[in-house]
Symmetry: D2
Subunit: 337 residues, 4 copies
């Protein structure tokens, strides 16, 4: 089969397509013919050598988000059969329940092989069935960015129609966050440097928008838009914790996502966190159960993931470069099979 | 001032309008000129002598749900001022936090004087400010039925977009439940004996409907509509616990509302409750904080309470009779001031 | 290997010891040499044909609770190795997270083969490591009764030191409940028909005791002992729901355990459940994670399960008869290997 | 009556005892003859002018924690009577329910008058009844430090017997934290610079101790004592967030208490918070309900607050100086009446 591998030293140049043996299924595993994968900023950062996982073994198959068709099932598999349409969870070992370090030790396309290949194998419990209403490209959009937003807003925040959510930019996590927040009756404030993207966000239901190029002190603008109170929740994906704390309501929570803190972020002042009873909650994607729930909720409510652009399998490098350009609105997809 | 009082022995005949002294405010209280009140089934049952509260003192002012204007504030009041538009909470002593017997010992128009009067006084903490978007009639619709649905679906269930809710009939609690459930992205199944009401419910967003006159075994129909699984939540307002348990998903919850179990209800079989890990949760209206939250959520999302019919102050008996006829869809309101 | 099987028609006579082939491990499974098993009332009821599971296939290996040593690991197993001391979870498919019907479809010694055998195999995720401080007999005591009490009081009730718990009798669930409740600083009221057992319970920390033979209206005695308020939680194992509801505080919860409602139990009156905001919550054992947590908590706090009596492998029928006699205090164990 | 007031500019010298008129009760208030007050580090910092509250009005009566006897009740008071023994809550407006900025705007002895006076008045809902087992000195120890620890460990953490808690030093919050954690079956690691205090902590049940003078890298020692995992919870009272994050388990929570970050604390590195799914949760004392619950739990379990030293009313300055010396273990009390 054909697959990409990222070779050392990590760089876009060492991101190479070759032929490999197809993987074999263990008793409790399924084999999946990959139909589509989606990209996350993490994939770009990994490919460019910005960071690595402890015990990294090069080369490895990159990318974490895939959807495809089951082509073989192991002898112990009971819940899936050949022909089922499925999406793989970001963590092959976090099926259910709350976070643990052990469940998140292996993540696809990072600390273990990923999905940018024609065939992959996964434990039965680490894949979710895909409702018929989604194409493979759409299904592949959910695992990392979608589950991160779902884990934050549904599982942790248990969003209520009285809440206001701040979303930063129009990348995958933020756009999924917008869809979830509006689905649950919450109010949304979203930021972008592009008027065009802000218009798109408004069309998707965003209640209030801030152009952070024109309003660099966007935290003050958030307070102005909320009668001085601030927001109940921030999906902090921008490495802007210092401003996010200032934009947060007393009693509110920041979901801190992504370990890649850019060098321009000033150190947050946590001095008022106790008196304001605020919470900073780290979020690291989520479980197969969350992925399953999210697919079900979006299907039932006729919501689709927003796909910014789709590339062919042999254009995976171009897809990465597009991610690096930051011009996307929603998800970037590579068609595989 | 003019006010109704229910005299003993309790009956519609002993529901009388007279002149009384206006109440005086204590330091922490506000005086409210009542503009509108709404009715609940409890008011009809109380007026007809179906039940009474321990230590009942006749005569008392009936009805629990009112909205009006603050005309005087006590010397210790800090959060309200003359002219504020407010709605009163069902329990004058349950301001916030979780249920306790002490907080719910006094309920308006039952174990203490109610609101069917031109002027009433309440502790500052037991009234909620009313957003400008609501008329007084609309604001008066929320306290008992609205807060009951909010307490069940938002506070207890913490509804998620993967949930399915079963609503029984088209009375106040069920219609508020429909609005809340759809606002939060959940699926709704609703029952009625009237095709016309089912059509109205569909127009408000109900996903699936059951005419229980045509389908008396509505619990079986609920299972059929949910791939055999049953629903996640039931707002049990019909005294049909036996069927409600059968319509409930394994792992689901029934919110049991109202102590008035009709004589036709068969005893529920709780034998499978453990294996199905089901929950029966009693609900008894809620707190001022819940009322405040609900008004805020409905205002922000341009939702209005559904008012079936409005009566004048001197038609309060006719309003009660209309409640007894069961022909309403949503709330019944009496204009007072 | 030697194993017992329950043959049809189900009766103590058809509970037979024979030789069978040893089971073989799949990739994600471990093979365990069983050292000890414990009994639950369910085993007695099943063996006597009181009930059966849907799709029951006779004969099957009975009993659900086992501890032993790993003697072989499948090729995909990563967290266990040969020589590890482990206990098996009641549900082989409920590893983690919240209840679902699918996770609880298979239960050991009922709807699938159990553990009264020299060797058994289980998925890696369905066994818990046993701390060194426990003997195999002690470890075998936890899975069904212990996890049921843990799930109720720790996971669902999230017991606080202000709570009062009512325990019915001195069987396995109640004695584990006593240990957990006292460990978490709660107050315990326990009932029994035996003064000797009540004395034992007091020595283990029970704060208040009721002899229900001398005080058949034990619900009234519970209220008297709690200043008229009732208890926060009941572990309802006695099929006495009617009295349990009366003994429950407004705002309290009954954990309903076991589907075997005796014919003498009167139908509970749920009429006041709403006004009292009470909860009835079915409980059906729990997950491998709960078992792991409980073993850890008991180990760390130097708590041991209470073992009433131990039998040899060839005395398994006598052990069942002893269970039927009701004279035990805590758990009954059969030594296997 | 006699009362202390803190005059401007704030300093220990401007902390003066004088005669004032007794306060008068409003309808919903009670008048309390103060019998004992306790000190918190905040009182020392305020008296020394380290910080002030927005809108501070000098002079004001300092100190927040008092216990005494009700000597008069307002006309609307229903739950208290003359002669009742009570303790006042830190926030007069946070009676119940979850945090809000409005409920915490007024705090005793800071943004409003405090309790270092012979008589004080409070709203009925802002005082808790004191069980007979506590002296006034003991009762006065609870409000600020005790409720802070209770809010953190019981309300927020919902502590389980599998948890490990890290406590920093032996001040009021930490020693209450030790008592609560052990009461609930959790494991405790405590730090101090004094072997004598560590010995005292061990005698009170601390499982593991660290002398941070001998082991300045105490975060590494915490990891070593927890098999490399870190602790589930930290009560962060030391302004040592950088090390606290390192000592925290993946999935764990830091309760950040007190806004007074010492100048020596390095900025915490939050870069791994997402991958470790950690939480930083600000805590700002708590509600009257929490105070009531804590008094009940300690009474029922025969626990007493630890009082380091007691001073007479005219020695309040010496009591403050003793607080500044840092030589206390537990609480410092001033007898008033």
């Amino acid at each position: 089969m054909k697959a990409y591998k990222l070779h050392g030293p990590k760089s876009l140049e060492n991101f190479k397509l070759s032929d490999y043996d197809e993987p074999t299924v263990h008793d409790h595993e399924v084999k999946i013919q990959v139909k589509a994968v989606s990209l996350n900023f993490r994939d770009w950062a990994l490919a460019n050598g910005w960071f690595g996982y402890p015990g990294e073994k090069l080369p490895f198959i990159p990318f974490s988000d895939a959807a495809g068709v089951v082509t073989e099932v192991g002898s112990s598999v009971t819940t899936l059969q050949v022909g089922d349409r499925v999406a793989a969870n970001f963590f092959p070992d976090w099926h259910d329940g709350s976070f643990s370090a052990a469940k998140t030790a292996r993540s696809l396309g990072g600390s273990t092989d990923g999905v940018l290949a024609e065939y992959v194998t996964f434990p039965e419990n680490s894949v979710a069935k895909v409702p018929d209403s989604f194409s493979f490209a759409e299904a592949a959009a959910f695992p990392c960015a979608g589950v991160t937003a779902w884990h934050s807003l549904v599982v942790q925040a248990q969003l209520k129609p009285t809440d206001t959510v701040l979303l930063q930019g129009t990348g995958g996590v933020s756009i999924f966050g917008l869809q979830i927040a509006k689905l649950m009756g919450a109010q949304v404030i979203i930021t972008s440097s592009s008027e065009e993207k802000l218009t798109q966000a408004r069309e998707m239901g965003a209640d209030l928008v801030i152009n952070y190029k024109e309003t660099p002190n966007w935290d003050e603008q958030v307070r102005a838009l909320t009668q001085g109170q601030g927001v109940d929740y921030v999906l902090e994906v921008a490495g802007q914790m210092a401003r996010s704390v200032k934009a947060l309501k007393a009693g509110g929570s920041i979901f801190q996502i992504g370990a890649v803190g850019g060098p321009n972020d000033e150190a947050p002042n946590l001095g008022m966190v106790p008196i304001n009873t605020q919470r900073i909650q780290g979020i690291y994607v989520g479980s197969t159960q969350m992925l399953t729930d999210m697919l079900h909720a979006f299907d039932r409510n006729q919501l689709k993931p927003v796909i910014s652009k789709t590339f062919d399998f042999d254009q995976a490098k171009e897809a990465l470069a597009y991610m690096g350009s930051g011009s996307h609105f929603g998800k970037i997809v590579v068609q595989v099979g």
